[in-house]
Symmetry: C2
Subunit: 638 residues, 2 copies
């Protein structure tokens, strides 16, 4: 199972080796992270990044290995944006000359960059950004300016304290005319002494959710007071400004930029599976250690993992971690496919690929965020301690629901795409990729599920048909309701909450179907396939139970069928139980990476909790600071 | 509406006066709380507590006013446990002599106490506690001892650094025989110099979820090495140990102790409504300030509160805050009723009162915890900043799902009670209080809802019948499935996830019905009742939509009826929209109490966010600490 999770033997081996390397290096210790104040934490992060860079160079790690090393160091830092957004932005939006000039500097980290799009007043609506870049033909420069308070750049990671450069998004203005939002490379700080350049005000935006967590990142605020940059620092792959001040669309289609989005979002889906699998590992291991109630004749109490309520909360999350892993594998394939098609000037699948990555980003990050918190609750009181690792994991993870597209805004995009697709049914327009099922419109609107006994729900075809029918009928119902409005936009707005539900149903179908597809592949390892079949059924059937209202309201299933699915689901939990620990061990996380006393591989939870407590700064003295000033006077007042 | 929310004119006036008093006192400032390290935060908390105590005495505040003052100071501290658990434990479990001896000391805070029940190895299962209290007839003392690592007391608030005394729960052992878990008053620290007494090891258990948040509380660890206490420090109201070492049951029934539980849990339900209303205030006000998309001809963009998706996430939470408020009012009445009956030796309603408070505690805290996080997400990126107030509110609130009974364990208790009630139907046993509806068993199993058009769902009787029918049918279905098992306990365990769902349905019915009851009362203020009717309908119908699967699967409603309910729900959101701000202003929270830049009363969000950023410690220097050591070498390596 380890190999299946890792993707390949090679992946497993590299990950395993690098994870151990990181775990054994004291500079990368995470033990006191949640106790540090902001400045300490930040400095410690700079230290780790520098050390990682040193090790990468000393050991001559490959790009793959270097990426894994940064991953296992598990510390949000300015480098995430440098490598993850600044470099890709230049690659995706820069001309070849621009790439030749800037990328080598970035690769060697002779400049450090960030991605400055969001402003105080605008995030989701990129077209509403207020920062301006006005072309000055006299000097052949752009004047970058923040005209209002709300135009202050706000949020970019790495901006606050470290970045020397940024890709800044601003409205291009030439001769008083606007040409939409474009990206510009702007130097922010002196490469000599790191002080902000003239006209630039930059700082950190302050504390964020949680201890440790994302506070190691210097999300920043930035304003421009008429800052001048050379004309060739506008990213000009899709549109250019000439020396004469003419805006010229290049022959590179704008859609190319979507390719990058597909890439970034596929990474987010893969990160979701990782974050969820970490939380599940901790909760599963601890649930096997924790005993509560049910002692018979003075024997040991019941492991809480044996309670059906615990299983019904935990195992679907375990199954989801696997499901998200496989759908992210599939997204990798999709990305390659899209890239090849774009190169061949075939843009036909872009809308579908875009909708599907947007929807999956939204779906997987929402479930993961809630799932981490559920895992924390599954650990009872002890899950509330930082030493459980779960509070920090939650705090560091949740913004994934917001950045790279607010999850609700994204599902509305998916819904728009679905409504378009439904409207075009029967028009002869081919249905591509994840919408292919809509081709069987008539069948899906009429079919009656053949499930008659619990075991029928183990049949992937039965499951798939139910999910297809439910998703399609929900889309069709929305389309019908929309048709009642004379102004379509008004209808879309009025029905948007229902539309989001239809979009979610569609996305769940994608995940279920990709899990089923995975099982059709050749899967090595004794018994591995059987395990995955159980997980796949649990994934699908827990959704069916949770969203029973959809299946029933659309008439896709009868109450009886829903009840049968629930019966088999219970028995699947019992089947999974003996392998639960093995299934989380398959993630192959080191204790360092997990960072959780409750999730320790050796199960020595209580002794480590006890030892750990004494390291809290409050325990440095037996009598606390402030006792004489603030407690004793109360006790002794009379 | 302010009066309705506050409960009475008097309550409103006291709250308003005290809230302003607190807000204007610089010692109670919360501005830098999330930036403080643990020691600073803790010392600052001690300062606030001492100052509050001083003000309470200087101003000669009444008990009611003092309670409100502590409430508005809004800082978890050792006093919460002193007043909230230590004092009530002595009151509830101490004999009259014990109360006469200890309460005056506690009231004057000449001793400070905590409630030490939970151990490293046992929380939910109180009967599994391992600490022992062995009677030594020679010296007329108990020897309190921690026989194992897992028997270490772990979690008690106020224990770690401040408490001088604790009510400790331990297994009573006399002459080698066990007499179950009992409470003992144990002195922990010297009243002279605060050092732990011989045999006592005590400390803080370390950092917990979030910045600021509950880290101001010294949850503690405590072990006993054969610590001796006088015999009269066992709390002996229900059972006594005589000088000769005989255990004697007193004539005070054990059930009396449940009264305290009802009291504590009613407070938790009321706290839920407050925490949720705070989060909703922030998200509602910010949603009216925040604009995104939808600008027409260069005009202002749409306030995000006008998006139906935003409304469908936010307004049910607003309605829930009101619903929880009213159900907690009703619980106060129930508590008085229970107390009077207990005094009259009438224990008949205890099981029902106990199940219903346990269930409502579970329901309201779960929804509130999730609701706070949803409100944070409703604020987009800015909700992730500590200055939004929401991260801390979440972190400080979530343990309410775990303490005073893990929420799942509690619903299992409710389910047990429901199964017993269903089993006794027809036996002639009277159905009391919140189970009265089960008296109409036959009707509820057969009735068909009369809802035919959207407006029918505004009729409280239609709503109530649907909720009763759904809840009852779910209970009956569980009971039927249970009957298939030859060993009832096995059945209960196997079906426990379904049982929890039935319990939740029952609890939701209680909240809905108490909201409807509230509307039957005389409600002063123009238009207030109409507003409440809208809220009540939204509360009920959003649940109906969310749990449509239950209503459909039990045959309580048809798909058509569920769709009609959803139609009217959408129109209710539009009706509520114009009053949304007024409805949150009715909570009458000061900016100090809310502690949120996004939730400011005057709406000046952006300027305050911008100003606030610069106060972060990282902005003390323009070039960050660590630059020369860890960043410059990377930039300059070649
Ligand atoms: C940790 C973190 C790191 C970040 N890093 C970066 C970075 O490196 N660079 C960068 O440029 N930015 C960054 N961001 C900013 C991020 O991209 C934005 O916060 C995100 O795009 C969401 O936008 P918003 O904050 O404006 O939310 P809003 O759009 O203001 O959302 C507020 C509410 O309005 C709703 N809403 C908005 N529009 C609609 C609509 N049309 N219909 C219905 N509902 C709507 C949303 O659902 C949400 O509930 C970061 C943010 C965070 C939290
Ligand atoms: C912030 C905070 C403050 C606290 N303050 C105090 C205090 O002042 N004094 C004090 O004495 N204690 C205190 N506690 C402890 C608290 O009361 C316990 O944490 C709580 O009772 C839960 O018990 P647990 O931690 O043992 O959880 P567990 O019972 O170990 O829960 C772990 C998991 O097992 C499941 N589970 C347990 N039993 C069953 C069952 N029978 N059936 C199905 N599932 C089951 C739970 O649902 C949960 O998912 C505090 C805790 C916290 C977090």
């Amino acid at each position: 199972m380890k190999i299946v999770w890792a993707g390949s033997k090679h992946d497993f081996e590299v990950s395993d080796r690098i994870a151990r390397l990181v775990a054994s290096d004291p500079v990368f210790s995470k033990d006191t992270r949640t106790m540090m104040d902001r400045k300490e934490l930040f400095k410690n992060t700079l230290r780790k990044v520098a050390h990682a860079w040193k090790r990468i160079n000393e050991l001559r790690l490959t790009e793959e290995e270097a990426g894994k090393l940064r991953f296992y160091v598990d510390q949000p830092a300015y480098t995430d944006l440098h490598w993850g957004m600044f470099v890709p932005a230049i690659k995706g939006q820069g001309t070849e000359e621009q790439q030749a000039k800037w990328l080598p500097l970035a690769y060697k980290m002779q400049i450090i960059g960030c991605y400055a799009q969001t402003e105080l007043g605008h995030g989701s609506n990129v077209q509403g950004l207020e920062t301006t870049a006005t072309f000055d033909p006299k000097t052949d420069e752009f004047i970058v300016h923040s005209p209002t308070l709300t135009s202050s750049k706000w949020w970019p990671g790495g901006l606050g304290k470290v970045s020397t450069h940024a890709v800044v998004y601003a409205r291009l203005i030439i001769d008083g005319k606007e040409y939409g939002v474009n990206g510009f490379i702007v130097q922010l700080r002196s490469l000599d002494d790191h002080s902000p350049l003239p006209g630039i005000t930059v700082g950190d935006i302050g504390m964020k959710f949680g201890n440790g967590a994302y506070n190691s990142m210097d999300n920043g605020v930035l304003t421009f007071d008429n800052v001048r940059i050379p004309r060739d620092q506008m990213l000009m792959r899709v549109g250019q400004v000439t020396r004469e001040g003419k805006y010229v669309q290049s022959d590179v289609p704008r859609q190319l930029l979507y390719g990058t989005m597909v890439f970034v979002r596929k990474t987010i889906v893969s990160d979701a599976s990782i974050a969820l699998s970490r939380a599940v590992t901790i909760a599963t291991r601890y649930s096997a250690v924790r005993r509560q109630f049910g002692s018979q004749n003075g024997g040991p109490e019941t492991q809480v993992i044996d309670y059906k309520t615990q299983q019904s909360r935990l195992f679907p999350l375990l199954a989801s971690a696997y499901a998200f892993r496989f759908v992210s594998e599939w997204l990798s394939w999709l990305y390659t496919d899209v890239t090849q098609r774009l190169q061949a000037n075939d843009f036909s699948i872009l809308p579908e690929a875009h909708a599907c990555t947007a929807g999956l980003k939204s779906l997987t990050t929402s479930i993961t965020a809630d799932g981490i918190e559920e895992c924390r609750k599954l650990c009872g009181g002890h899950g509330y301690l930082c030493s459980s690792g779960l509070p920090e994991l939650f705090a560091v993870y949740v913004p994934a629901c917001t950045y790279e597209g607010d999850n609700v805004v994204l599902q509305l995009q998916v819904a728009r795409f679905l409504m378009k697709t439904v409207a075009q049914l029967g028009s002869g327009k081919p249905l591509v990729g994840t919408t292919a099922y809509m081709g069987r419109a008539e069948h899906l609107l009429q079919c009656k599920s053949s499930a008659e006994k619990p075991e029928d729900w183990l049949n992937p075809d039965v499951v798939l048909e139910a999910f297809e029918s439910r998703a399609f009928r929900m889309s069709v119902a929305c389309a019908k309701n929309l048709a009642k409005f004379s102004i379509p936009e008004e209808g879309f707005s009025e029905l948007s909450a229902d539309l989001v539900e239809a979009a979610v149903a569609h996305c769940q179908l994608i995940v279920v179907s990709k899990f089923i597809d995975k099982l059709k592949q050749d899967i090595p390892g004794a018994g591995v396939k059987q395990q995955l079949e159980i997980l796949c059924s649990i994934y699908a059937l827990h959704l069916l139970h949770k969203h029973a209202g959809d299946f029933l309201a659309t008439g896709s299933l009868t109450s009886k069928q829903v009840a049968l699915a629930n019966d088999i689901l219970r028995s699947l939990y019992s089947k999974l139980r003996p392998n639960a620990i093995a299934l989380v061990d398959a993630f192959n996380y080191t204790d360092h990476y997990l960072g959780s006393v409750l999730g320790r591989y050796d199960g020595s939870v209580y002794s480590k909790l006890y030892e750990g407590a004494w390291k809290d700064p409050l325990n440095e003295t037996v009598v606390p600071e402030g006792y004489h000033e603030f407690v004793r006077p109360i006790l002794k007042q009379h």
